[in-house]
Symmetry: C2
Subunit: 614 residues, 2 copies
């Protein structure tokens, strides 16, 4: 780097600071001080190390940059302005109604792969992208992640360090902006860069400690990082929050607020500039790797009446889908023998990713993969997906296309007890923006839904059951998303069930007909969201009363979905769900105890019919 380069970088950094101050001043909110600490870091990256084509966001060979400290969005937007992607006018729409320059970055803006703003999320996704570059795309792009020091307190960050270190992702660099100050006050480790270096290097990373305001040191570190062999690199940069503006520099209580006197600040920063950066496009290969696939889906077929666990069908169907489609990949939380993802692992080892017991990292890696167009399925116990709930929430805000599969749902798992029972997953996934929630009751239905969910957008959740359930549908049956199936027809009441409770509902319907002379309709609501509003309204009108039954807490699940579907044209609904905290017991005892077995359903229908006729 010569003198001129050095001066340009200093000027560019000053411009990024000025623009961060201006954008936040225009918005009268935002995080200028958190942007200013990292201005040199990002100036050097943008001008000298990032390889992406500003005119072609879809170029598969582009580098990726993730602002894990998403609140430093003014800095990011100032960078994309300097790169010519947005105008200065647009920069000043920051945080305004309708602007794609949101308070925290989202993929509405080109080159933003994921929404950030929930700290500890960006780096795990970056690991997923780097893994994608290495093992799926097989392209030499580099993944750069800007982290704050505060967010290193998040456990998810250490799942990411472990994952990347173990995989030896040399194509990943994290730049930590160690500005010493969190939101409320000083961080745990302040400017003790070596405290971070000890921790991160123990996880198998190469670490470099630098002065984060010296373009020369930064340039050396980033070149070193790009050329790293064997290990990912963490650049630990000592910086000052609010650097360059005396009103705020290195002061507490200045987080997340615009500068009080922006004009004075801009003067201190040397005034506005209008530099542009010609970001260098990638050279070398640009076609992602293509896995061999048949193109023809040959789903497993199960015999009617046979007892098969839906988790088993999930694994076998996903393996078949993987054979047909080379872009389908799978991620495991070290329970593939239980979720039955093992069938995919065996068939397609190159597209199977073991994430060990780190559910957040598993979901984040999947998000990284879908950002590059792969179609990931991530699976663990339904109960343990709650560990990644924030990441699922952020995936939805990221407009991610993601399939998640939770096994061992409900009390029907039996003896293992409540810690292993997914009993809140339907509520949690229904309350994810734009989600689809599926809950099949038999093996053929599962296989078909596993295949069909690949074609949907957004967050898709499939819930599977541990024990075997009888196959009630033929292998050729279709199950539209948003649809349902009528398994019995009768005029006196309707039972709405899904998954394991479909079989209890069928048994109850038979008992009701045989023993009580009561004919009921049984609806299999395999599509919990969107639910089959049309069919439910017809059944409600025809039968006048509904019993819902679900292996889930009473709140937010199937029963609430049915109530919501009928909200404006209601009929009496009796909701059967798990209300007492279960212990250990056999699956059948659990269903009985919870009051969601055939007998409980029968009683509820008897009662409903009695009240209707009484």
């Amino acid at each position: 780097m010569d003198e001129r380069d050095y001066r340009f970088l200093c000027d560019l950094a000053a411009q990024l600071r000025v623009d961060s101050v201006r954008a936040s001043a225009a918005a009268d909110s935002g995080h200028p001080t958190s942007s200013m600490s990292a201005a040199e870091l990002m100036a050097v990256l943008l001008a000298r190390h990032l390889r992406l084509d500003p005119r072609d966001p879809a170029n598969p060979a582009n580098d990726h940059l993730i602002f894990s400290k998403g609140h430093a969005s003014p800095l990011l937007y100032s960078m994309v302005k300097a790169a010519g992607v947005v105008t200065d006018d647009e920069l000043l729409t920051f945080r305004r109604h309708g602007s794609r320059l949101e308070g925290h970055p989202t993929p509405r803006l080109p080159f933003v792969d994921v929404a950030t703003g929930s700290l500890g999320f960006g780096l795990p996704v970056g690991v997923g992208l780097a893994l994608t570059g290495r093992k799926l795309d097989r392209l030499p792009y580099h993944v750069w992640v800007l982290c704050g020091d505060s967010e290193l307190a998040e456990g998810s960050i250490w799942e990411a360090f472990e994952h990347a270190g173990h995989e030896g992702l040399t194509n990943l660099t994290v730049i930590v902006d160690v500005n010493r100050l969190g939101q409320r006050g000083p961080t745990r480790h302040g400017w003790d860069l070596s405290a971070y270096a000890r921790r991160i290097s123990a996880f198998g990373w190469h670490t470099i400690e630098i002065d984060g305001h010296d373009p020369g040191e930064i340039d050396y570190a980033l070149a070193d990082a790009r050329g790293a062999r064997r290990r990912p690199t963490a650049v630990l940069a000592r910086t000052s929050k609010g650097y360059g503006v005396s009103e705020v520099e290195d002061r507490e209580g200045k987080h997340g607020k615009p500068i009080k006197d922006p004009e004075q600040a801009i003067i201190e920063l040397g005034g506005p500039r209008d530099l542009t950066v010609d970001v260098r496009p990638p050279t070398g290969p640009r076609d992602p790797y293509d896995f061999v696939a048949t193109g023809t889906l040959d789903l497993p077929a199960y015999e009617m009446g046979e007892k098969v666990a839906t988790r088993q069908a999930f694994g076998e169907a996903l393996a078949a889908l993987g054979a047909a489609c080379g872009d389908v990949v799978a991620l495991d939380g070290e329970v593939a023998d239980s979720t039955k993802l093992d069938a995919f692992a065996k068939a397609h080892p190159e597209r199977f990713f073991e994430c060990y017991i780190a559910e957040q990292q598993m979901v984040a890696a999947a998000i990284g993969m879908q950002a590059r167009g792969w179609r990931p399925y991530a699976a663990t116990f339904a109960a343990f997906l709650t560990r990644a709930y924030d990441f699922v929430r952020m995936a939805a805000i990221s407009r991610a296309d993601l399939c998640l599969v939770g096994s061992h749902a409900g009390v029907s798992i039996g003896e293992d007890g409540p810690s292993q029972m997914g009993l809140e997953d339907l509520a949690a996934f229904r309350a994810v923006h734009g989600s689809t929630v599926l809950y099949p009751c038999d093996a053929n239905q599962t296989a078909r839904l596993v295949a069909d969910m690949a074609g949907l957008g957004g967050i898709r959740y499939l819930r599977t059951t541990r024990g075997g359930t009888p196959v009630v549908y033929g292998a050729d049956e279709r199950f539209p998303i948003g649809g349902s199936k009528v398994l019995r027809t009768g005029g006196q009441a309707t039972i709405v069930a899904a998954g394991i409770t479909v079989h209890e509902a069928l048994a109850a319907a038979d008992d009701l007909l045989d023993e009580d002379g009561i004919a009921v309709t049984v609806i299999d609501a395999y599509s919990v969201k969107p639910i089959d509003v049309e069919r439910l309204r017809i059944a409600a009108a025809d039968t006048g009363g509904i019993v819902t039954v679900e292996d889930h807490w009473p709140e937010g699940g199937l029963g609430d979905a049915v109530l919501a579907a009928l909200a404006t044209s209601p009929v009496p609904v009796v909701k059967l769900a798990v209300s007492a905290l279960p212990g250990s017991a056999t699956p059948q005892e659990q269903l009985e105890d919870a009051g969601i077995d055939r007998h409980a359903i029968r009683l509820a229908v008897q009662d409903l019919v009695k009240r209707a006729t009484g």
Copy 2:
């Protein structure tokens, strides 16, 4: 340790193994192999280092033992049998219906502080207990945690290592049973103890690497750990899964299954034994520290009409509650200036715990504190509590008494955008077993609910709002849990709102009366769970139709709670909620965009009334 002691410990370990095999064989399920690897570790701990009174589980001076690897429950139950807490007959009820020896431990059994079984949960709670011993109880008890090696992949574990290392919790020892095999296969690091030692010691811990089947080495390590100065200790023990039984020892595919030939296994292990251990009770002080408190609650009072943020009232009320009650403590996720927990921090610094940006550890520390009888309030943004959702789930299974407060709920936060908006929290918390969900609309209501929630059991969640809202209740008003308030009375429709939307509903009601001549009832459903079923049914009967309005996704929140309350005696309900993904905008623009402002409510009521009369 002399020859006899050594032999006794070997015999005791063999007994623990045999009993683990017997219990799992009787249950025909469970995790004997994961129990067998840690038998010597737990034998030495039980016989020589644990200080607790087996006849007095309530003794505040007792040591604590947490099985973070909860699936090794057969080992735990074999230990309590050896200590005389349960009989051999009860041991063989393992995993049976009604037995307190559940598949994974729960506090139904004495000396079990928390439910475990979701890996990565026990150690974080242990850190909370050790912190309690040091800073709250101020008693010299020791906290012992048994971890598996697989679960060290969980980020929550590293939040815990960081927290304990930073606090220098010498009263905490984690024993890691490095048996090399996870559920599905080998762990990342196998028997590389130094890989773990490097990582853990980088987080400020003392580490000791030992042969986990040698009672002498174990004894030395545990004595060293108990006597540690300055730092917590991690004992890294190399063990074999299924140790001592050739059918399973160190073999893959043997996780979570009973031994096929238990009789042969018992013979290999030297046959059944009937040793008992006189666990030594604690000596020294047994009275927990008592913080000075007034005993008189002097809640802040706000003027009617004044605009105050409910988060502000939360902070001030909690500070007042802390002054009255010495057992109230508070935990922060490094956002106390935003949640307004700072008011408590200022007033009661000794009872305030900064957990930095580590929401799982924050919740876990609170769980540890309540296990010793303290009353914790933990607060962060509602959105970021989703990061700890699994821990909240496990807290409920642990029968924990816990207050959680989520600020910045809903789109009404404005410019920061969706990553910061809690929009799924009502759904998530409603679907927690035994939870209470509160959502106040003004400062006086908030203050009263903050105080009243202290007296409840289980998981209590309070949702607060970022912006100021007018005070609509007098300071003397009472707000029973499960109650509601009628703020307007009119016969043509009912609007049910909570929190921020109460004010929109009131404005809509005024507009409807003034402009349209439509008189509506407005219900403030501040208690979202339990909801005021009685009042809702009366209003439904009186007005014939309901509009619900909430700053939350449509699923699982207030609207669904109202629908569930009216399920068996329904009226038409129109649910207004946030359905499109928000961007940045002002609070008022956000409410408008989401269709939950006064105008949208007015339109919905007009439409409802038109349909009813049309």
